[in-house]
Symmetry: D2
Subunit: 238 residues, 4 copies
């Protein structure tokens, strides 16, 4: 079965970026995809030490570090598509997400060993949420980097909101996030010769239905972990 | 027949960006696409005056200006894919290309009139050539904007060179540009349910063959117009 | 007397970016600076044809084109500081402003002739106004380019608003724009050994006083030219 | 005595970015400044958990995490200027540097507590080194963010090289890095009413003298720690 992986670069499981990411993943499920959500703040990821610059090529999959990052690289290799979501910290993805991107060099640099990049052909979309400015710069950065690793990008692949924690109540952002999920799934179906959507869908009923589902998930999560509980390294559940 | 449109934002028909763009278009032809190359410096394009901000939505296709820009918008609407090439002027596309992008609002803003964006589903790639820095920023900008208008993006959709006028002798850049052409074509074929390439091809023979073809075109062009001849507004031929 | 030049890349004299620019210039006047505002949409500016890439260095001040652009380059050379304001068109400055930046190569490239860049030491600030996203990317671009031409940048040199035509009613944006004017002026005074502000001032009275002054100017302008009147090439007054 | 702090976001003490940073710091010393170099890869820095978004403002100096990051924030508060250097990892600063930037919110967010940003008025410059593209995007990002925290920026504040580990042999990059150091120092002197340089100096003798000094430092360091030794978290010396 085909899988779309959600990557969350936020310390909050159900903050703005986490909530919109869940909307996108539900939309992908409705097109028949399995989804999984990985939260980067759950465990430490070692920073890339730049082996790609060594005289002899040594940077390759799997990366030398045997850590949470390696597990995620494994999932990135296996998945058919990714949706990457981050809060906007200083106009850019969060630090832990940047560390993961650096580590993804091990997937891309397989080209130095006569193989294709392990990101080649993955379909991707991105979601960025801030309380003010910088969402465009953060999203443009993610799309550009993923394409430079070999990913393919459906139409309207970037959803964003300026409303921070309230992003789930930003109607346009929710509709956009749902389309990110639909269109990543749709592009995957298409390139395999199957039917799949490649056009933006503006459907308030779908939007409200998916939003309600995410709100319910969020309430169950808060009932268990508390509303202030962060999914910080080793400190939270979910 | 399907068409891929090349948009050249350079004053030089066969400078670095122009030459790499021609490589990309030849590669698309080999996959059965018709191609056409539009040079923005050939005639004036009126700058966008921002009607999209009017109280009543007025910004729509065709744009109010009856000029060369309108002709290009027509071609952009008709084409199945675009490859946009520009010299890097201060880390960004050239001024005339920025003016065209602003004018493309008329294609995208059809969403305000209940239609899809006229850019939706076009497959796109970009080429940026500078003598120093800024090629990444310029290319990231173009990909991001085109995706935000609804375009789809194949893997490895950005080719660049730091070698300015000598870009045609930058082996990696030529191979990358050829792949931009191949993969824009390949993605179009795939989303229509046909076979088409979606992986990077490293083929020195293909690279040299296409480079030779572009060099020959360039020599014929220079024989007719002179090596210093610029394709400036109304001043040159080709 | 010292002069700070305002450069407006908008077709609207008193739209969002134009209004905030006028706030900034009034604030600079209160510190004893003469100001002048140049509207790029007033006349055509020829696009840069990239002479900087010629074998022999030929790109130098004054630029070969004898047009409105040349007049503006003269003013840019004479002024002590600039404040550059633009609407956000596709996450970037407007096309005419990009054309001016390309033409500014003639000021900067004096380094190829044994002179300093004619932009070196100018103090600069920027203002970007959009109706949605992209203000950060547009502002970051302008600051980066101006610094790479030799300009110095005071603290808090970028004011922006997401409120488009209503930017003059965005309290934070107005206060920020006033600070851009104050701090460009303040930095110029400081580097000359005089007293001048280098810290952000949050002063609602100053904000409201300057906003009122700009609103009055705007009303007088609209009484003369009409509220819909654009400052398009050759078509408007003020 | 006045201090300029060097921040190194590389795992290599004397790689390209580390070496150019040392050139910049030596140049600042020649203008009478004390300098200190902090290597981010030496110890773990906890990722920012985004307290700035809490209902009640809680993000303030000192940050809640009692770690290496807190020590660096202390140094950043005390210093008069910073020079921030990073290898280019996917067109951006390294992950650990991004984590530090996120943590610097604690310095800037003092504005929410009625104080000025603790970054306000610091003079800053940046250095980015890659083996290929992206140096401009990485440098533009750093300058923009630091200015948005309140820093002031001298002319020519970004030095970069595309030559990776060989950056110390990139003549223009070394001269640029020396100017970054000189001009950060010069701007600090000027805003205090003292004499200091604000113009680019092209001086091959100075360049070669400082390069030789850094090469000697590097050789001593390699004699002690080995040429392959990385300054990874807890694993290296110097």
């Amino acid at each position: 079965m085909s899988k779309i992986l959600g990557i969350l670069g936020s310390p909050h499981s159900y903050g703005g970026s986490g909530s919109l990411l869940r909307c996108a993943l539900l939309a992908a499920q409705e097109l028949g995809f399995e989804t999984e959500l990985v939260e980067l703040y759950r465990e430490r990821i070692e920073p890339c030490r730049g082996c790609v610059q060594d005289e002899e090529p040594t940077c390759k999959y799997p990366c030398i570090f045997e850590d949470y990052g390696r597990e995620i690289l494994f999932k990135l290799r296996e998945a058919d598509g990714y949706i990457v979501a981050s809060p906007v910290y200083w106009y850019a993805p969060s630090g832990p997400l940047k560390i993961l991107i650096d580590r993804m060099t091990a997937l891309e640099n397989m080209v130095a060993f006569g193989e294709p990049s392990y990101v080649e052909g993955k379909a991707v979309g991105v979601i960025t949420v801030g309380a003010d400015a910088g969402a465009t710069l953060a999203g443009a950065y993610l799309l550009t980097v993923l394409n430079a690793m070999g990913a393919i990008i459906p139409p309207w692949a970037h959803a964003y909101s300026h409303r921070g924690k309230e992003a789930l109540f930003d109607d346009r952002a929710v509709m956009d996030a749902i389309n990110v999920g639909r269109l990543v799934a749709g592009l995957l179906l298409r390139v395999r010769g199957q039917n799949g959507p490649l056009t933006y869908l503006d459907d308030p009923d779908l939007r409200d239905r998916i939003r309600t589902a995410v709100l319910e998930e969020k309430r169950r999560w808060e009932a268990q972990y508390g509303s202030e509980r962060l999914s910080l390294c080793g400190k939270s559940g979910a």
